[in-house]
């Protein structure tokens, strides 16, 4: 018995030599692109990036070709392209986040959450007025949408996963089709079906109805996926204990899927919180806090942003960016909540 202990190794891990080689390759590529920019009429950041990309490919290709042959060289090209794809996707995301942070900061202050725009125009100095009316309005409208969509969405999911009636396939198809309905069409529909024939005026309730059309498919599809994950054993156990289908689903299946269903709800909220077009059409957009969804126009966060943007002065646009900052923070928090909940649900 020797006291030889085998350490787990990772043979696929890059050795320092290989890492150095990668760094050298990148440096060579950078140098090549720099020289080309220097001597040819191509100028600018775009030229640097493009040439750097091309020369990286060429350098890697050459290295792999002489080391391991044509197949490895082709593989290196594919790797370069895939990495470039990821970088092109990342750049706008970070640009967007950076822009919001940079431009939204100016308009952010605590008074934003205490005042509305009743006595201030969008052109007033940034310290005055606020978006309380928009927050209240968005909250009420999204709340109405939630009250309508949550039962319908979850019932649809239950129909698709538990009852599996004759309409299952067409309904699945229609729910998917519904998730592609353009938001402006939802606004037009509420306009044509409710506002023109019945109420004849815009109000928060109309906004909530329009949002619910966009929210139902999100909740239904996510809930369906969640319910499909519940093991069949639970359902069989419920039936075997003499439960009716109603009691099995309401007392066993739905509680088991609770955290997933909450996640579905939060994703639905995040989906509609930033919808702009239908709210412009149907909810009007008041400047004062209006807690009554049945009467008179109601402001909302997206409308507040939209109004500031279309007004077009530096102050109003700064207000818009501050509004976007608040809106995106809310969406971000909802998202984190959804992720944590679904994460803790999986661990159990």
């Amino acid at each position: 018995m020797s006291n030889l202990t085998l350490k787990p190794t990772k043979p696929w891990k890059r050795t320092p030599k290989q890492q150095l080689l990668i760094a050298v390759n990148l440096l060579v590529a950078a140098a090549i692109s720099f020289v080309i920019v220097l001597v040819t009429p191509m100028k600018g950041k775009l030229a640097y990036l493009l040439l750097f990309f091309i020369s990286t490919i060429i350098v890697n290709f050459a290295e792999n070709y002489f080391k391991s042959g044509i197949a490895a060289a082709k593989d290196s090209i594919a790797t370069s392209f895939a990495t470039a794809g990821l970088i092109i996707v990342i750049v706008p995301i970070f640009s967007i986040l950076f822009t919001i942070f940079e431009r939204g900061r100016a308009g952010l202050n605590f008074g934003l959450f205490l005042h509305d725009m009743k006595s201030n125009g969008p052109n007033d100095p940034l310290g005055q007025g606020g978006l309380l009316h928009a927050l209240v309005g968005s909250g009420i409208m999204v709340g109405i949408a939630l009250l309508i969509s949550l039962p319908i969405g979850i019932l649809t999911a239950i129909y698709l996963t538990e009852i599996k009636g004759i309409f299952s396939r067409p309904i699945k198809f229609l729910v998917q089709a519904m998730s592609g309905v353009p938001s402006i069409v939802a606004g037009l529909f509420i306009l044509s079906a409710v506002v023109f024939p019945i109420t004849k005026s815009s109000s928060g309730l109309m906004g909530g109805l329009a949002l619910s059309i966009l929210m139902i498919p999100t909740i239904a599809r996510t809930s369906e996926e969640v319910l499909l994950l519940i093991p069949n054993d639970l359902r069989e156990a419920g039936i075997a204990l003499g439960g009716t289908q109603w009691r099995t689903i309401s007392l066993i299946v739905v509680p088991a899927a609770k955290s997933g269903l909450i996640t579905a709800t939060i994703l639905g909220l995040a989906r509609v919180a930033g919808e702009t077009a239908p709210l412009i059409l149907v909810s009007g957009g008041g400047d004062a806090v209006n807690p009554n969804p049945f009467h008179s126009p109601m402001g909302s966060l997206p409308f507040y942003i939209w109004k500031g943007f279309t007004f077009g002065t530096p102050e109003s646009i700064a207000r818009s960016w501050a509004g976007i900052f608040v809106l995106l923070s809310i969406i971000f928090l909802l998202f984190i909540a959804a992720r944590t909940l679904s994460g803790s649900g999986e661990k159990k």
């Binding site: 775009l46 082709k74 593989d75 790797t79 392209f81 895939a82 990495t83 794809g85 990821l86 996707v89 990342i90 706008p92 995301i93 640009s95 967007i96 822009t99 039962p151 319908i152 019932l155 649809t156 239950i158 698709l160 009852i163 009636g165 309409f167 067409p170 309904i171 198809f173 229609l174 998917q176 089709a177 592609g180 309905v181 353009p182 938001s183 402006i184 069409v185 037009l188 529909f189 044509s192 079906a193 059309i213 139902i216 239904a220 009716t244 289908q245 109603w246 994703l267 995040a270 989906r271 930033g274 702009t276 077009a277 412009i280 059409l281 939209w306 943007f309 960016w321 976007i324 995106l328």
Partner: protein, 331 residues
């Protein structure tokens, strides 16, 4: 144990039935009603938009889709004269398709490469973070893309457009007589492409990750490099799924309103040249005209909404059929 003196009573025959109880009947009824609501809502959208737009559609006939004149003519009493006015959305339809097609053709290669990287190249921690970030990006509100596109992206894209014009103006698509680069369909296409990248990426990623593991391993065992494995196994398997994802992105791009409104100059004229700052978009046109529209014009806008609804419904249905057929298919 001794108290058992009473005669044993055998329980009567249990009643066996497969009839659902009353509570179950109610439950099933309610759930079915909930499930059918999507059918009802889609049907109602069709009926109401059709009802409101019927008058305009009847007077314009097929010209509503083929004409590109939007003129509201009022008679002396101030009412809109339907027979003299003309409503046609051809320019807007062409613009919608042009922007959406441009967006898809920019977004698909990038998304597919990104999905490939995330599925087969990325280290585990990077993959987790990136998937979360891309999901978050899919939930960004469209007005955010619009404002970012207007203030940050547009100057860059105009510069790119000038470069393309300089070197590729011999391609008919990039030709232009007047050099107005601002707010062109090209800018709108790039903004839309960034909006739909998360959708196409996540659909493609899901399809790629469903590639049967045994085939992947078989390819590696035969000595394939990562790229030849992807070309021989992943791409044939995931091809139609990517097409479906691209169609979903197309549907989203066609229905986009606010983001396009902010970066596109709406002009009533059929324009195929993507670099010229004059384009069209049905959804944005509805938003633009809605503010000052009279009753008849509003009806025409409803009809335009109906056309847009049917178009996106068609595209989405095709996309979903393709995607759901791909899932779980083995070859």
């Amino acid at each position: 144990m001794s108290e058992d003196k009473s005669p044993i009573t055998t329980p009567g025959k249990r009643e066996l039935t497969n009839k659902p109880r009353f509570s179950d009947k109610v439950f099933r009824g309610v759930a079915t009603a909930g499930g059918l609501s999507s059918l009802v809502i889609l049907g109602l959208i069709l009926i109401f938009l059709g009802y409101q737009g019927f008058q305009v559609l009847r007077s314009e006939g097929f010209g509503f889709i083929t004409g590109s004149n939007w003129q509201v003519i009022q008679d002396n009493a101030g009412n809109t004269d339907l027979s003299a006015s003309s409503f046609g959305i051809a320019a807007m339809l062409v613009g919608t398709l042009l922007c959406a097609a441009l967006a898809v053709s920019i977004a698909v290669p990038i998304s597919v490469l990104c999905a490939l990287y995330l599925t087969f190249y990325a280290p585990q921690f990077l993959k987790k973070i990136m998937v979360a970030i891309i999901d978050l990006m899919a939930a960004f509100p469209s007005i955010l893309f619009g404002m970012w596109g207007f203030f940050v992206l547009m100057p860059h894209v105009e510069y790119w457009a000038k470069l393309i014009h300089k070197y590729f103006s011999w391609i008919p698509l990039f030709k232009m007589e007047i050099s107005v680069f601002t707010r062109s369909p090209f800018v709108a296409g790039v903004v839309l492409a960034i909006m739909i990248i998360p959708i196409i990426t996540s659909v493609s990623r899901e399809i790629f990750s469903q590639t049967p593991l045994d085939r992947v391993q078989a390819a590696y065992a035969l000595g394939a490099t990562r790229w030849s494995m992807i070309r021989a196994v992943v791409i044939p398997y995931g091809k139609s799924g990517v097409v479906g994802g691209a169609m979903l992105g197309l549907g989203r791009a066609m229905g986009e309103t606010v983001a396009v409104y902010t970066v596109l100059n709406l002009v009533y004229q059929i324009n195929w040249h993507v670099l010229i700052g004059a384009g069209g978009n049905v959804a944005s046109m509805i938003l633009l005209k809605f503010g000052e529209a009279g009753p008849t014009e509003t009806r025409a806008l409803m009809a335009a909404g109906l056309v847009l609804f049917l178009l996106t419904l068609l595209v989405n249905s095709i996309a979903n059929t393709i995607v759901s057929r791909t899932g779980g298919k083995g070859r």
